[in-house]
């Protein structure tokens, strides 16, 4: 109903109230938002404004207290835990602030992890890993362990892991917060390139002005509500 062909994410009066020792904390207070396929969107706002909460809900990591979320034509706000788990595997790529690579797996194994869950065969996995490593500029790093990489390199591996299975949406909660600004900007430029090339939708949150400037659409949250929403060319 709500989702015309080009809408990827649609939220309706989204509300999330946490219970903190019996005291209700209203993290999201009614967000109506539509994000279209292929967007490169930043969510910004002061600390505690609800960015993480919002991203968690639209990616099916958390469930809303009220309201609806549609993602790729599916109403995920009513899915069960295991449905959400499969949905995330097949439709969403995550990039985390602290990279969150699996320390015991090599770069290649980290990247192919989701494809393994999906049952992609070995040759195809290898082919895709090699291709993506070139795209993120990590040729020759396939057999390294994450601990032997710099923060910037680890986050590139995380980007590769997120996009290799060709999800509909990449979500990144403060992906550059642990990087110095130069490295952060480089990472964002790379993500923007990948976004242009593949058309995969990117939604990320940030505090960094330099990073915000690279977004095409900038949504500002304040106290769990949308404060402003601007799209630039």
């Amino acid at each position: 109903m709500e989702n015309k062909n080009n809408d990827l994410i649609v939220t309706h009066s989204l509300v999330k109230t946490y219970q903190d020792n019996g005291i209700p904390v209203k993290a999201v207070r009614g967000i109506d938002l539509t994000i279209q396929k292929g967007e490169f969107t930043a969510i910004v706002g002061p600390s505690g404004s609800g960015k993480t909460t919002f991203l968690n809900i639209i990616s099916g990591l958390d469930v809303p207290t009220d309201g609806e979320v549609w993602l790729a034509g599916k109403k995920i706000s009513e899915m069960s835990g295991s449905e959400l788990s499969d949905f995330r595997r097949d439709h969403i790529g995550f990039i985390f602030q602290a990279y969150n690579l699996i320390p015991v797996l090599t770069v290649e194994e980290n990247i192919e992890y989701i494809m393994l869950l999906q049952g992609v065969d070995k040759e195809e996995r290898h082919r895709r890993v090699q291709k993506i490593l070139t795209e993120v500029g990590l040729d020759g790093y396939a057999d390294r362990l994450p601990t032997k990489l710099s923060g910037g390199q680890q986050q590139r591996v995380a980007v590769a892991r997120a996009i290799v299975s060709q999800p509909s949406l990449i979500l990144a909660d403060e992906p550059t917060a642990n990087l110095d600004s130069q490295t952060g900007v480089e990472l964002l430029d790379m993500m923007r390139e990948l976004n242009k090339k593949s058309g995969i939708t990117y939604v990320f949150s940030t505090h960094d002005r330099m990073i915000m400037e690279r977004a095409r659409r900038l949504i500002t949250l304040k106290d769990g509500r949308i404060d402003s929403d601007e799209t630039r060319e």
């Binding site: 788990s85 995330r88 969150n100 992890y113 869950l117």
Partner: protein
Amino acid sequence: MLSLKIAWRNIFRQKRRTLLTVLTMLGGFTLSAISIGWADGTYNRIIEMFTRNRLGHIQVHAKGYLDKPSLYKNIKDYGDVGKKIAETKGVMSWTPRFFTAGLASIEDKSMGVQIVGIDPVRENEATRFNKKIIEGDTFSEKASHQAILGKGLAKTLKADIGDEVVIISQAADGSIANDLYTVTAILESGNMTQDRSTLYLHLKDAQELFVLYDAVHEIAIIAEELGQVDEVTERIRTKLDNPELKVAPWQEFARSFYIAMKADKEGAWIMLFVVILIVAIGVLNTVLMNVLERTREYGTLRAIGTAPLQIFRLVIYEVAMMAIIGVIIGTIISIPANYLLSLQGIPMPEQFTYGGIEFTHYYSEVNLHSLYLPAITVVLSALIVSLYPATRAARIAPAKALRSQ
């Protein structure tokens, strides 16, 4: 595959913790493997000494003989009975015995004796009769009026090899049984009480003396394996199919001995219980700590689409691998340890005598049972205590786990 790979590599992350956990399981395994091997070894050795060398594993008597022994309660045509027994699966050997009492005299010394008529060839095959001879030679194969005396009896009668011994008793037909035999050997059975009063004759000589041709009072049977005595007993019963004959395994005809042995063996189970406890506490601690430390990692795996069951497996595999390593190393240690203890034995703090046999050493034994019981115990108790942490890991809420930076 992937879960196995991650689980395997996770083992090497906290090397000290893993080492400690594996050592706990290995220690628990080895401890119980040795204690079971030891209990089995000591137990089986005593039973073997008691049955294999003397009583036999299974005995056949005329009905009522054991309750009230008598010359007349005998097994007729024992050769036929023996033949059927020999044909039974699981029987290694059988030997006929003739029991009665009489008076034995050498010169001016006399003594009431238990007369045991044996088939020298069969008796030696079944209970290693000849090994018990400490002086002189065993019976000739053909009956030739020879007697073998227990050590204590020989002393009382001041008997030497070659002496003539007179036996007086009453024959089955009521006539006086009276004959002269040459002492051919002196024997030490290991049962001193018995040796003070036992005189052995060739079966044919005994049957002739007591005018009971072709009859015996007992057939002792040695099974191929101690562990199969019950089945073999049942097979013999079926094969003989004779209500006049009673077939009993050693657990029945040596009941009090059996009960003593059984009580002793129970100690091994307490050991297993202790092992379960040690392993459970050690493993629970390790796995809980691992899961706690990896909350964010499992949260990440959950976020990117790993199913709860896969996380559960990850935790369980890791424990299973440590347990298997512990069991493998434990087996490598336990087999030679039990083997060494089976050769060497450990002196008992308190020696004891049972049924005239002196027991001085504990011996171990290498057997399957002493390996698979501890293996199952260790692996199962490790897995069972891991269920809780594994469930916890599987239930990690990704959003919450990812916030805990």
